[in-house]
Subunit: 336 residues, 2 copies
DNA sequence: CTGAAAGCGCTTACAG
DNA sequence: CTGAAAGCGCTTACAG
């Protein structure tokens, strides 16, 4: 079934059929009705490939998500899609693996779809040179693009640095002075680097420095990663009283490891997370964590991208406030 | 940049360029080299819309996933994609919301992409009349299509019925005779219905029946759902000793609710889950749950679909074995 | 092995 | 308001 068939069956030309299908006002009511009748009777759907080939135009917003199963990203994605659709942008979502090359994927999409703009979830702007050479607007979510200083690369992030300071201060406040940290590779993950810097700043204020060999354990952002990293920290630091993990998932892995090694949380050792995803409120104990405002990141992220597209504004770098969400995983050990 | 440009720059015709791009053997080495040089120099990507319009053919496998954030489905999806790619089928993944209409989505994709086959993850075959009217092969994963008896609708499922019996038997074995159940609406969710039937069978063997009003609590497959359902069960059944939740996520919600109501798990009350997803091994306590063999479901599912496509085999309904995975969330209360 | 040409299904000036 | 026609970028018989 093609537009030509519809034209034949309705007695009109293909041009008029096309106009009806695209809600072009220059069609008589009579023609519209006759054509819609045939369209509906045949449950006709125009061939999208032909349409795209012909209009050759941008096809909405491309959202590239690095890493599946990331609850934080899923929360942001859902709201972003709604925001874009409310602004009459359709979006297509592309998942790529943790190890895959987002720049190559973006380049492919750029050639194929010519989107109005890109949303990069969890992507490191430094790896996206391709995008900076073009002039299509891009917004990086959870990774700052400020240091790139490219007019088309915006970003929206949580204040990772400030949040880490806040959490470490909180732990010191509760009497913890032997703190281990679990995070990503600061050479590769910008949020890890920012949070680590925040930790270092907070430690300094309390007259300590972080021993990167003993007290910082590298981990993937997974349960298993948090588990293994915790075992390493325990081995190197028998007198640890608290662990700060840079994601809720890693924190849950850490808690599991601690129990398996006979340590109760928080009675024997405290654990803090990062993200404030749903699971942090349902796991046991409930996590003390940094809540990232995914709602705001999604909505402002969409707004910024749309503004860059429509008004050709230069890049915007925005930071979203966080909250320390108290659960039951951190013990107050002052006076013990 | 189009194929025409490449032709001009390389001094060959568009036909030859196209043949090189598609690895057609009828091209001289000389031409291939010359053309590839230009292609690479320009980082040329052919226009996919034009290609699809022209070849007008099937575009691999369409995978429709109902509900985001479903860890079980993500596990299956990842392995399925690998299986299809190894068999040289490309696949495209479509996520739809819990409430969305998968039949409409499938119809749309069918018109637009003409896939060789469909994978429906978490979809109810009874809602997919559209698909049965066509002759494109479909495999339903986690929902049996056996009762549909349509030659193109296959399915691969865990033995939900047997697994529920196994778990209830296990709970009775450990001395539990007051068991509450949390699951989906058996009118809408086929796996819920099958598991509930298994529970009923197991209860009967132990001389009990399930009081659907008091002992079965409806829930969405979410943390929050499990939490609320547990509160209802507690209220209606003060002497409950165990809860069987039909997913790990609901079980974790249940555990949280129990703690919030001053009950320890498993000391005061036992909780069992279903799925055996990664989180079941990291939450606290570790869940006693039914492990679904996602690896096998994915691999056999892909095999079955490919067989139906290539050999035009009639529908196959396959059941995959499960395992009861013992954690620390069920207490042995015999002799207490 | 290669090129010229037809045509996939659509949209959109253009002319009426 | 409507129709005839050009053309989006590609693939593939067809002829050589």
């Amino acid at each position: 079934m093609t537009i030509k068939e519809i034209a034949r069956l309705s007695g009109y030309g293909v041009g008029t059929v096309s106009r009806v299908l695209n809600n072009n006002p220059n069609v008589s009511d009579k023609a519209r009705k006759a054509i819609m009748k045939v369209v509906e009777a045949n449950n006709f759907q125009p061939n999208e490939n032909a349409r795209r080939l012909r209009i050759q135009t941008h096809s909405g917003i491309a959202i590239i998500i690095k890493g599946r199963q990331n609850i934080l990203f899923e929360e942001i994605l859902e709201r972003m899609q709604i925001a874009f659709e409310n602004a009459d942008y359709s979006c297509s979502v592309y998942y790529i693996d943790e190890e895959d090359d987002e720049a190559a994927e973006a380049a492919r999409i750029q050639k194929e779809q010519k989107p109005y703009g890109f949303v990069m979830l969890g992507s490191n702007p430094e790896l996206c040179n391709f995008l900076s050479s073009g002039d299509v607007p891009v917004i990086f979510v959870t990774n700052s693009a400020a240091s790139m200083n490219m007019p088309n690369l915006s970003s929206i992030t949580t204040d990772d640095y400030g949040a880490a300071i806040c959490m470490i201060d909180y732990l010191f406040d509760k009497g913890h002075t032997h703190i281990g940290i679990i995070g990503g590779d600061p050479q590769k993950s910008r949020p890890s680097l920012m949070r680590l810097s925040g930790c270092q700043a907070a430690f300094m204020r309390h007259g300590q420095t972080i021993d990167m060999k003993k007290s910082y354990a590298y981990s993937r952002f997974s349960f298993e990663g948090g588990y293994v990293a915790t075992e390493k920290l325990l081995e190197d630091n028998p007198d640890l009283t608290a662990i700060f993990a840079m994601s809720d998932i890693m924190a849950i892995g850490a808690i599991r490891a601690l129990y398996d090694h006979g340590k109760r949380v928080p009675a024997d050792i405290s654990v803090a997370g990062f993200d404030g995803t749903e699971i942090s409120r349902f796991c046991n104990p409930v996590l003390t964590t940094i809540w990232q405002n995914t709602e705001r990141m999604a909505e402002r992220g969409a707004e910024i991208l749309i503004q860059c597209i429509e008004e050709e504004t230069p890049a915007i770098y925005e930071t979203v406030p966080f909250n320390l969400q108290e659960g039951g995983s951190v013990h107050d050990i002052r006076g013990l």
